[in-house]
Amino acid sequence: MSEIVRDHILELFGKGFRLDGRKFDEYRNLSVEYGVSSKSAEGSARIKIGKTEVVAGVKLELGEPYPDTPDQGSIMVNMELLPLSSPDFESGPPSIDSIEISRVVDRAIREGKALNFKKLCIRPGEKMWIVIIDIYPINDDGNLFDAASLAALAALKDAKFPKVENDKITYKEQGKEKLPLETLPLSCTVCKIGNHFVIDPGVEEETLIDARLTIGVLENGELCSLQKGGDTGLTPEEIDTMIELAIKKTKELRKVL
């Protein structure tokens, strides 16, 4: 980004404004569309945050439970930063940025116990469901962390078990039974830019982030996951302020899904 744009953004911040006129704690327009790939995926959804657009799809596979959790199913989250969605992304093996988002989304769903993992087990020690969530940005206009997490949860909400015959999935007809989704652990990423706490950064703002904290929040306001990023440290007081903001904002996000 050019220096003049950077200086302009920082100068505006000092006056209490953002580039697009939003408040520091304001999301862009949020929308969700379910079933964007309903013919092929067991569940799918599209999330738009302003001009940022992310799609997610859920596929189910049958597998053998892991020896340490013989009575539970499992999940897998995969995010690919498509070069289609931004001139800054390149083809090739998963970048560290895509791995981080995948893992942060995975952690919130897993540790927030969004799914009842015991209900994903078919026969203990023998057969379980593996829920695979694939997330793809269509347009990266900033804040892929929150968009990816919302898209993954929306796709889970949309998902239904496929039909099974003789321990094999049959795709001849679509199933009706929903996945055992018990709660929605929503993530909100709070960014520190200079002395300001900012949410839902645009692409220009993202290049200025000093530190960020992605906070997973449960329905009861309890936290279920944290991930700090960025090159500077945060004081415990700052962390507390960021968490307070995330709890407030995830209440708004809950109305979207």
Binding site: S40, N78, P83, S86, I132, I138, N139, D141
Partner: protein
């Protein structure tokens, strides 16, 4: 059993419902969505930009580079393993060949024009939908072109020549013949031709005529979508 009526009730020369839109990826220079039946393709153009490694550069012209990818959840059946495979690499290559005859990159030596095509949902005809979306995205990006490229599958199902096969038809009695075609309507050239299965010389002639008619209809929809974006000059 004679194939008197198509599985989805269409006429033999009828396309599935088509939708097209440009500008779906604001961060790209040009972009388009093309939907035919349940197959949904999104294409985005990045560039012209410098091509690295430099050994791949062409000092006299830009290079067109296509990349076809199915999203992991977009297949009918099991999850598709992410990442390139032999099929997607071949399709990327034939897409380049299908588009090159109409694209003029002589103004961009040493550069690459990247076209990324993602399939969100598939139900047969994905490379054709991808080419339709890619051609619109290139036009939207303002890349010099002689014409759009329009693309559709034709084939033989149960002895009948049909336009725009669905997945069900591809699998009909285990032996349908599937031909992927693309046309530059203005120059009358075929820029993509791939066939799986048996067919007589006469049937191919008939099939190509049918494909051309289908592509003419598709071109109208592609053009209309571009005009919505840029406004009709009339």
């Amino acid at each position: 059993m004679a194939y008197d009526k198509r599985l989805d009730g269409r006429k033999f020369d009828e396309l599935r419902p088509v939708e097209a839109k440009v500008g779906v990826v604001p961060r790209a220079v040009g972009s388009a969505m093309f939907k035919i039946g349940k197959t949904i393709a999104v294409a985005a153009v990045h560039g012209p930009r410098e091509l690295y490694p430099a050994a791949f550069q062409n000092p006299t012209s830009g290079v067109l580079r296509c990349n076809y990818n199915m999203m992991a959840f977009s297949g009918s059946g099991d999850r598709v393993r992410p990442g390139p495979n032999r099929r997607s690499k071949e399709i990327s290559m034939v897409m380049e060949k299908a588009l090159m005859p109409v694209v003029d990159l002589s103004a961009y030596p040493g550069s690459v024009v990247d076209v990324f095509v993602e399939l969100i949902q598939t139900d047969a005809g994905t490379r054709c939908a991808g080419i339709c979306a890619a051609a619109m995205a290139l036009a939207h990006a303002g890349i010099p072109m002689k014409d759009l490229v329009s693309s559709v599958a034709v084939g033989r199902v149960g002895g009948k020549i049909v336009l725009d096969l669905s997945k069900e038809e591809e699998d009909y009695e285990g032996h349908a013949t599937d031909i992927a075609t693309a046309f530059s309507i203005r120059t009358g050239q075929v820029t993509l031709l791939q066939m799986d299965g048996p067919l007589t010389r006469e049937e191919l002639k008939k099939a190509l005529e049918l494909a051309k008619k289908g592509c003419e209809d598709i071109k109208k929809i592609q053009t209309a979508a571009l005009k919505i974006k840029y406004g009709d000059s009339k």
